[in-house]
C-alpha cells in the first residue's frame, strides 16, 4: 500500500532522515519507534507532503506521491493525525469533524454518527469549542476528524503524547479496532511498548537511520530493544 524508497530529508542543514526505506502492506499496523529526534515525525511529514525528500520516492497505492501537494493526498485516501493533535482549537467539535470531511464535499451525517458512536464523549461535546476539551478528548477528536475522510491509510503521530496511561490504553484499543475494521495504520510512537504490542511489524529509528526491523513480537523480545526502549 505504501512504499517509501531511499528518502533523505533535511531541516535546513540538519540531515534528519538518512536514506530510509520501508513499506506498509494493506491491512497492517506498522509502527515507527525511536527516541525524540530520531526522525519519525519527519518521515510522516514527508509522506503527507508537508516536507520534501531530496532523493528517492514514495509510492502510495501504486502512484508516486513524492511531489504531490499535501492537500491533494487526502483525496487519495491518506489521512494524517499530526503530533500535538492540531485540531482547530477555536472551532467547535462539530466544525472540526466537518473540516475532516472537507475532501468528501458534503458532510455525510452517517460518518458523524459513526465517529460519535466510537467516541461518545465527542457527541456530548459536539457544540463545544475544541480548545475547551481535555487532552484525551482532543486526541479522540483528532482521530475522529481524520476518519471523516474515509482513509485507506491512517498515519498517527504520537497519539499517546501527554495522555494518562488509562487513556493511552483506550486510544491504542481504538487504533486496533479501526485496523480490524479495515484501515491500514502507520503509527509513530515514543511509547515503544504500546506501539510494539499492537504492531504487525515495526521499524526502529536512531538518528535518522533504520537500525532494526521485524515483527512487533520479535522486536519486543530483542535484547537491544528491551535495554534501550522498554526499560530493561
Amino acid at each position: 500500500m505504501l512504499q517509501v524508497n531511499n528518502i533523505n530529508v533535511y531541516y535546513g542543514k540538519i540531515h534528519a532522515v538518512k536514506d530510509i526505506s520501508f513499506h506498509v502492506d494493506s491491512g497492517e499496523i506498522v509502527s515507527l519507534i525511536g527516541a525524540n529526534g530520531a526522525g519519525k515525525s519527519t518521515i510522516i511529514h514527508t509522506i503527507s507532503g508537508l516536507l520534501r525528500s531530496k532523493t528517492g520516492n514514495i509510492q502510495f497505492l501504486g502512484k508516486d506521491i513524492s511531489k504531490t501537494e499535501a492537500h491533494k493526498l487526502v483525496y487519495q485516501g491518506l489521512a494524517h493525525v499530526p503530533e500535538g493533535r492540531r485540531i482547530f482549537l477555536e472551532m467547535t467539535v462539530m466544525e472540526n469533524l466537518e473540516m475532516g470531511a472537507y475532501s468528501q464535499g458534503k458532510v455525510n451525517t452517517n460518518d458523524i454518527a459513526d465517529v460519535f458512536e466510537r467516541f461518545p464523549r465527542l457527541k456530548e461535546r459536539q457544540k463545544q469549542i475544541a480548545g475547551t476539551l481535555s487532552g484525551g478528548e482532543q486526541q479522540m477528536l483528532a482521530i475522529g476528524r481524520a476518519l471523516m475522510s474515509h482513509p485507506k491509510l491512517l498515519m498517527l503521530d504520537e497519539p499517546s503524547m501527554g495522555l494518562a496511561p488509562l487513556l493511552v490504553e483506550q486510544i491504542f484499543h481504538i487504533i486496533q479496532e479501526l485496523n480490524q475494521a479495515g484501515t491500514t495504520v502507520l503509527l509513530v510512537e515514543q511509547n515503544a511498548e504500546m506501539a510494539l504490542q499492537i504492531a504487525n511489524r515495526a521499524y526502529v529509528l536512531e538518528s535518522g537511520h533504520v537500525v532494526l526491523s521485524g515483527t512487533g513480537k520479535e522486536l519486543m523480545e530483542s535484547d537491544r530493544i528491551r535495554k534501550a526502549y522498554l526499560g530493561g
Binding site: G49, A70, H71, V74, F88, E90, E95, M99
Partner: protein
C-alpha cells in the same frame, strides 16, 4: 433639544462613515488572519474601484447598476492578481520583504492611476440619489442611511459566510493552522485567493460609498481611508472580523464627533491618539485574541 438633534445626526453620519472604514478594515483583517500579512495596497483598491465607477458612468454612459458591478469585478480581479503576482512568490519570505512589497504595490497603483487619469480631481457621479428622511424633527441624509443599511447587510452576510459555509469554515481553519488545514484537503493557496477576492469586493463597495460621501476622487484618494481602516483593524484587534467592524465604526464615530464638537483640523489627530491609548491599555486591540505561542 437642538443639541440632542445635532448629536444624533452627527452620530448617524459617524456610523455611516465608520461602516465604510469597517468594510475596508475587513479586507485588512481577513488577509492578515489568513495570509499573516499586512496588505498596504488594500486602500488603493478603493481608489481603483471609484475610478471604475467614474469611467463606467461618465465615459461609457453605463447605468449605475452596471457601473457598480464592473467596479466590483475590476477590484476582485485586481486584488487576486496582486496576490498571485506580488505576494504568492513571497509565501516563505520574511514578513518585512512582504510588507515592503505591499507598500511597493500601493505606490504602483497610485502611479498607474496618475499616468492614466492625471492628478486632477474627478467628480464622482451622483449614481445614488435618495431623498432625505425626516423623523420627528430629525432630518437624515438619504445617502448616509443607504450607506449604513448596505454596509450592515454586507457585514451580516460576511459573518454568515465565514461562520456557516464550507469555504468560510475552511478560511477559519487556514487562519488557525495552515498545515492542519492542508491535511484536511484544503488548498491554502486557493483559500488565500478567495480571501483577497472577498476583501477586494468589499473595498469596491467602500469606494462607491466613499466617492458618494466626498464627491471627489484622485489617484491618492485611497491612501487616507486605507490608513484609517488599517488603524480600525488594529484598534479592533487585527485578525478579528467582529473587531474590524467594531473598530471601523468606533473610528468613524470618534472622527465625526471630533469634527463636529472639537475641531475639524484636529479630528485625525484625535483618532490616532485614541488608537495609541487603546494600544497602550490593550495591545491586542479591543476584540483581539492572544496569539497562542507554539510549544
Amino acid at each position: 433639544m437642538n443639541f440632542l438633534m445635532s448629536l444624533i445626526t452627527n452620530l448617524i453620519s459617524g456610523l455611516s462613515l465608520g461602516s465604510i472604514y469597517a468594510l475596508i478594515a475587513l479586507g485588512y483583517t481577513m488577509v492578515y488572519g489568513i495570509a499573516k500579512m499586512l496588505n498596504f495596497a488594500h486602500g488603493d483598491i478603493i481608489m481603483v474601484g471609484a475610478f471604475a465607477v467614474i469611467v463606467s458612468v461618465t465615459s461609457l454612459g453605463l447605468p449605475p447598476v452596471a457601473a457598480i458591478l464592473i467596479s466590483v469585478v475590476v477590484c476582485v480581479v485586481l486584488g487576486v492578481a496582486i496576490e498571485r503576482i506580488a505576494y504568492k512568490p513571497l509565501r516563505e519570505a520574511s514578513p518585512l520583504a512582504v510588507l515592503i512589497t505591499a507598500i511597493g504595490v500601493s505606490y504602483f497603483l497610485q502611479s498607474l492611476a496618475l499616468i492614466i487619469f492625471g492628478s486632477n480631481q474627478y467628480s464622482f457621479p451622483k449614481i445614488m440619489t435618495f431623498s432625505s428622511i425626516t423623523l420627528g424633527g430629525l432630518t437624515l441624509n438619504g445617502e448616509t442611511l443607504t450607506t449604513l443599511i448596505v454596509t450592515t447587510i454586507l457585514m451580516i452576510a460576511l459573518s454568515l459566510f465565514i461562520g456557516k459555509t464550507r469555504i468560510g469554515k475552511a478560511m477559519r481553519a487556514v487562519s488557525e493552522d495552515k498545515g492542519a488545514a492542508e491535511l484536511m484537503g484544503i488548498s491554502v493557496n486557493k483559500t488565500i485567493a478567495v480571501t483577497f477576492a472577498i476583501g477586494s469586493a468589499l473595498a469596491a463597495v467602500a469606494g462607491l460609498f466613499y466617492g458618494t460621501t466626498y464627491g471627489f476622487i484622485n489617484p491618492y484618494t485611497g491612501a487616507m481611508p486605507g490608513i484609517k481602516a488599517f488603524v480600525a483593524a488594529v484598534f479592533g484587534g487585527i485578525g478579528s472580523i467582529p473587531g474590524a467592524m467594531l473598530g471601523g465604526i468606533l473610528l468613524g464615530v470618534i472622527e465625526n464627533l471630533s469634527k463636529a464638537y472639537i475641531s475639524t483640523e484636529l479630528s485625525d489627530a484625535i483618532v490616532f491618539a485614541v488608537l495609541i491609548i487603546v494600544l497602550i491599555v490593550r495591545p491586542i486591540g479591543l476584540l483581539g485574541k492572544k496569539t497562542n505561542e507554539k510549544v
